[in-house]
């Protein structure tokens, strides 16, 4: 099934494939990274990078080292995806990550704000008496232990992209440079990757800024779907579309069941 934003794309790839390809290009050979639960796009990005240009990329989540999934799954944390891997460890590895750190991690959120803070806990009310209670998050330590992270979401709407999250599940740049430094944070989100566009963060203000729009998406489309005052630079690129080679690897090897096509 095609989503409405897919239909606007004239090219033969889906927004999810664009997101996976963009992220894969930003991962470097020799790095160590992980993705959380429900992380089909991040896992696709890591597997594609490993095939294409980063054979020494290490994928080490909370309990497993270098998995070889035969296909993508909506969950990437059970034996369907992880049955074949180089080492199977346990949740003790949470503390190992605290010690050695990661190069990159991926976050998602019910709400994402202009400073890249993400919320998975509640919308409206308070944490003790929420109007809407979300799933929460397993690991919130990556803001401290991962040298950069990506926000990757399949939803880009005003409801998701809000001026200020109702609850900071995992911090981005908090309320800007002052609060960020006061909290003792050193790392933060590099890109926010959505079905419509790529955003980065302006170095001076640490606020989210449009970097590129995907083929068939206009700057106005992105502004209309964003619930805060997104920084718009003078020049906005079109996100470089997937190459034929990237799409072939993605569809033939990484995602043969077409999870990113649906």
């Amino acid at each position: 099934m095609m989503t409405s934003s897919t239909i606007r794309n004239s090219q033969d790839y889906t927004p999810a494939e664009m997101q996976a390809v963009f992220l894969s290009r930003d991962l470097t050979d020799g790095e160590l990274g992980a993705a959380g639960a429900s992380a089909a796009i991040p896992m696709a990005a890591m597997l594609l990078a490993r095939l294409k240009h980063a054979p020494n990329l290490s994928i080490a989540g909370e309990m497993f080292v270098n998995p070889y999934p035969k296909q993508l799954w909506s969950s990437m944390l059970d034996d369907r995806a992880l049955g074949a891997c180089e080492a199977a460890e346990t949740f003790l590895e949470l503390f190992a990550h605290s010690h050695r750190g990661l190069d990159f991690f991926f976050h998602n959120g019910m709400q994402i704000d202009q400073y890249g803070n993400i919320n998975l806990h509640h919308i409206g009310g308070t944490i003790d008496a929420p109007i809407m209670r979300g799933p929460g998050a397993a690991n919130i330590s990556y803001a401290v232990t991962s040298r950069r992270f990506y926000i990757c979401t399949s939803v880009h709407t005003k409801r998701t992209f809000v001026p200020k999250v109702d609850f900071i599940t995992s911090p981005g740049y908090l309320q800007g440079p002052e609060s960020y430094h006061a909290a003792g944070l050193k790392y933060g989100p590099k890109y926010c990757v959505t079905p419509l566009a790529i955003m980065d963060f302006a170095p001076q203000t640490l606020r989210m800024r449009l970097k590129s729009v995907h083929e068939g998406v206009s700057v106005d489309d992105v502004i209309r779907q964003t619930g805060f005052d997104l920084q718009i630079p003078e020049h906005v690129d079109i996100t470089e579309p997937p190459t034929a080679d990237e799409l072939r690897l993605l569809r033939d090897v990484v995602d043969p069941k077409g999870l990113l096509l649906s």
Binding site: M63, S75, D78, A88, T90, L92, S98, D128
Partner: protein
């Protein structure tokens, strides 16, 4: 005479689970559940918790929970949760969400390091585990398991996460001998080993009991030794509808059907609550043995499909 002659078996029968539960945990106490999300969850044991009408339980688990916790909440067994993530992954947990929003349960705001660190501290017999990797998150402000401390060596500010000692832990694995030596054949074992070392009492369901000689021939593969296990029970497909790899895969259709039912109840659909209670009656209360449970969820035909799905991986 064999070396195990005279040794007491820890094997109990399916019919003895109920009594074991009521002898080891009371209403209002802390229950730990093994596995993660849709794998290795001891669902047959959880259904017995519901049949025994245990109430006001506090629930803890490895950092990711879903179906079983939602079912316990729908059945009215839960007062408080200490669960970092509660989700069916492709959708939210309807009964959890409904109960928290209605204020009928308390969902404590905890994360993976506080829960895993708490199990670790209990397993090590110390009152807390120090944690350095928390900054900037609102979870820290609301987490009842943690307190700020000062490092006695460097003066650095960090956190202590309190030891977690569940009254009872329910786990599921693929194999064990009758003395309670547990062997996971699954690749992922999550926090099962830690939970076993942290709880007062540990009950493990396994897909099959194997001879003790078999355990002794491959000791490196014993994932939880008998000294941490109080009772073991053989329950074929005891993790259903979650998966027990490599033996059988996840019954996503069953979980989706439950979720549709629970979500209709959450949204206040006409007959929503009646249908949810009918699910509990049909699949939890009425089947008092595993054979009748399996018959209620598709029987041999469905189980064969889940076995084939796991074998094809």
């Amino acid at each position: 005479m064999s070396i195990t002659t005279g040794r007491k078996t820890k094997r109990i029968s399916f019919n003895e689970i109920g009594t074991f539960l009521t002898n080891t945990i009371d209403d209002g106490e802390l229950l730990a559940i093994g596995g993660l999300f849709k794998q290795g969850r001891p669902l047959a044991l959880v259904r017995e918790v519901i049949r025994q009408r245990l109430k006001a339980l506090k629930i803890i688990s490895s950092p990711g929970s879903g179906f079983d916790v939602d079912l316990l909440i729908a059945a009215g067994c839960v007062a408080e949760t200490f669960l970092p993530a509660v989700t069916l992954e492709t959708q939210m947990c309807p009964s959890f969400r409904r109960a928290v929003e209605a204020g009928t349960i308390t969902a404590h705001c905890v994360d993976a390091l506080s829960v895993v660190g708490g199990f670790l501290a209990a397993a090590n017999g110390v009152p807390f585990q120090p944690v350095a990797a928390w900054k900037g998150s609102d979870v820290i402000k609301h987490n009842p398991l943690i307190k700020e401390i000062t490092c006695p060596f460097t003066g650095e500010k960090l956190f202590a996460t309190k030891a977690i000692r569940p009254k009872l832990a329910l786990l599921h694995a693929q194999e064990a001998d009758e003395f309670g030596n547990i062997r996971h054949l699954s690749t992922m074992t999550y926090a099962d080993q830690l939970i076993a070392r942290s709880a007062d009492t540990v009950l493990v369901s396994v897909d099959r009991i194997v001879p003790s000689e078999d355990i002794i021939s491959r000791p490196r593969e014993t994932s939880i030794p008998c000294i941490y296990v109080d009772a073991v029970v053989e329950i074929p497909f005891g993790a259903h509808p979650t998966g027990s790899f490599p033996n059988y895969s996840i019954d996503e259709d069953h979980i989706d059907a439950y979720a549709a039912c629970a979500d209709a109840a959450r949204k206040g659909a006409p007959d929503g609550d009646r249908d949810l209670q009918a699910y509990i009656k049909q699949h939890v209360i009425a089947p008092t043995d595993q054979e009748s449970y399996l018959a209620s969820v598709g029987g041999t035909i469905r189980m064969d499909e889940l076995v084939a799905e796991a074998q094809a991986l």
